[in-house]
């Protein structure tokens, strides 16, 4: 077995997943916090739009992202001008796909978390002269820590397994954008069952470790 070929998608998957899970947790947290503050016009419409990637086929998300970020779109060209290289077919494209696909999970988890915080506690802090930021940092966030942790783990798991949208906008470049799910798909296609088994095993191992961690935290 070619060990270098074996490790390269695993390293890349972990790199993409770590960055994507951190980004999506911050974004999901911010969005859920903003939305939990007060009702506004079109809130339920916006919320429905946010949840869409959860029910849409990943190929639809991938297709839309390709149109949005491709080299024929204004945004795609702006990114190319800014960074000197197109974003499509880079590992950042894989991060974007993962963030979009796992956003609804993180958002939903954080929304439930914020809803469970006793408003009286926050108001008590405000009455004692705390600023909104202090209320968030010292009262709300510690009380939603468990939700934050599960939101992060859900985002991590969804990112690690992301395949459809990733393949469409990050492509399949061995060593650069070939993640574990893509590598497994290609290996099966090429009849390379040894590698397919090895990566499937690695995937099961990482997922098992994650579940164990969650179970441990909860007990």
């Amino acid at each position: 077995m070619d060990w270098n070929a074996f490790w390269s998608p695993i390293r890349l998957s972990l790199q993409v997943t770590l960055v994507a899970s951190l980004l999506v947790t911050i974004l999901g947290l911010a969005a859920a916090w903003r939305m939990s503050r007060r009702p506004f016009r079109g809130k339920s419409l916006l919320e429905t739009a946010i949840m869409l990637p959860l029910v849409l086929p990943p190929t639809v998300v991938g297709f839309l992202l390709l149109i949005l970020l491709g080299r024929k779109s204004g945004l795609g060209r702006a990114i190319e001008w800014l960074f000197g290289a197109p974003v499509v077919f880079t590992w950042w494209a894989a991060v974007i796909a993962s963030v979009v696909m796992s956003f609804p999970l993180v958002y939903q988890t954080m929304k439930v978390g914020f809803a469970s915080v006793d408003r009286d506690l926050e108001d008590a802090a405000r009455a004692s002269g705390a600023s909104e930021w202090q209320v968030f940092r010292l009262i709300t966030l510690p009380l939603t820590f468990r939700s934050l942790l599960s939101a992060y783990l859900l985002g991590f798991a969804r990112s690690l397994g992301e395949f459809g949208a990733t393949l469409m906008i990050a492509g399949n470049i061995p060593g650069k954008t070939q993640t574990i799910p893509t590598a497994i798909y290609v290996a099966v296609d090429a009849g390379n069952m040894t590698m397919a088994w090895a990566w499937a095993g690695a995937m099961i191992f990482i997922s098992f470790l994650m579940l164990l961690l969650v179970g441990h935290r909860q007990s």
């Binding site: 080299r71 024929k72 399949n172 650069k176 798909y185």
Partner: protein, 243 residues
């Protein structure tokens, strides 16, 4: 499917499953129109994909009657494994490997070595292990001593049609496809054909799968594919007929 036929004796429609190389998509859809109008009792079901993928599906027992591969290797492997009939396979067509660029782009290349130029940022190529067009391209690049150097900017498509789409959308600056794929799209331009000496000849082999459920109908369709009428149709798409 055949339940609309009143008093049908044995007027049941036969569904003939044909696994065919992705590059044949357009030509075979035309062939189907002609063939089905003449054989109302046969319905052609095409399963298009990379020839390597299709080979793998047959190995795993997919219910396929006929296999048309863009590479002799896939058919040879299946014959060796006893999954395809040794005697019933034909060299149907030949094609040519070309390099395409977006029709409205500025990047140009006249030789394989030109692909290394910095203004060409991404080169699309089929996954060499499963896509014949990718494997032909790898051979040509390896023979020219360019494969290693080009590796960092290649993006690998799951079949030759995806490679074409990458170039059409401008997300790749160049790509390796067959002449016939390039001719189906107005959004790409052929810049050069890959030298015939630098890679194995691109040949399409057609054959009947051993476990075919509709052997008789498969034989009939295979015979039609070799008829002058069908071959003329293939030629209009840019294929050549082997001598």
């Amino acid at each position: 499917m055949a339940d609309g036929m009143a008093g049908g004796e044995s007027a049941e429609t036969v569904e003939l499953t044909v696994s065919a190389a992705a590059s044949l998509t357009d030509a075979l859809k035309d062939i189907r129109k002609v063939y089905e109008s003449r054989h109302p009792d046969v319905r052609l079901v095409f399963n298009f994909g990379a020839s390597g993928t299709l080979q793998r599906q047959i190995e795993q027992g997919a219910p396929v009657d006929l296999f048309i591969s863009a590479s002799a290797r896939n058919v040879r492997d299946l014959v060796e494994k006893g999954l395809m009939d040794e005697r019933r396979q034909i060299r149907l067509l030949t094609n040519e490997l070309v390099v395409v660029v977006p029709a409205d782009g500025h990047a140009d290349a006249a030789t394989l070595a030109d692909l290394l130029k910095p203004e060409i940022k991404r080169v699309a190529i089929g996954i060499p292990e499963s896509v014949p067009a990718g494997s032909y391209a790898r051979d040509a690049l390896a023979n020219a001593g360019l494969w290693e150097a080009l590796q960092p900017k290649t993006v690998q498509g799951k079949d030759v049609r995806q490679v074409l789409q990458y170039v059409e959308s401008g997300n790749a600056d160049a790509g390796f496809v067959y002449r016939t794929d390039a001719l189906t799209s107005r959004r790409v331009r052929i810049t050069f054909a890959v030298d015939r000496e630098s890679c194995a000849p691109v040949e399409y082999l057609a054959g009947i799968v051993k476990d075919a459920r509709h052997r008789k109908e498969a034989e009939a369709f295979l015979a039609f594919l070799q008829s002058e009428e069908a071959l003329d149709l293939f030629v209009t798409y840019g294929y050549s007929v082997p001598k």
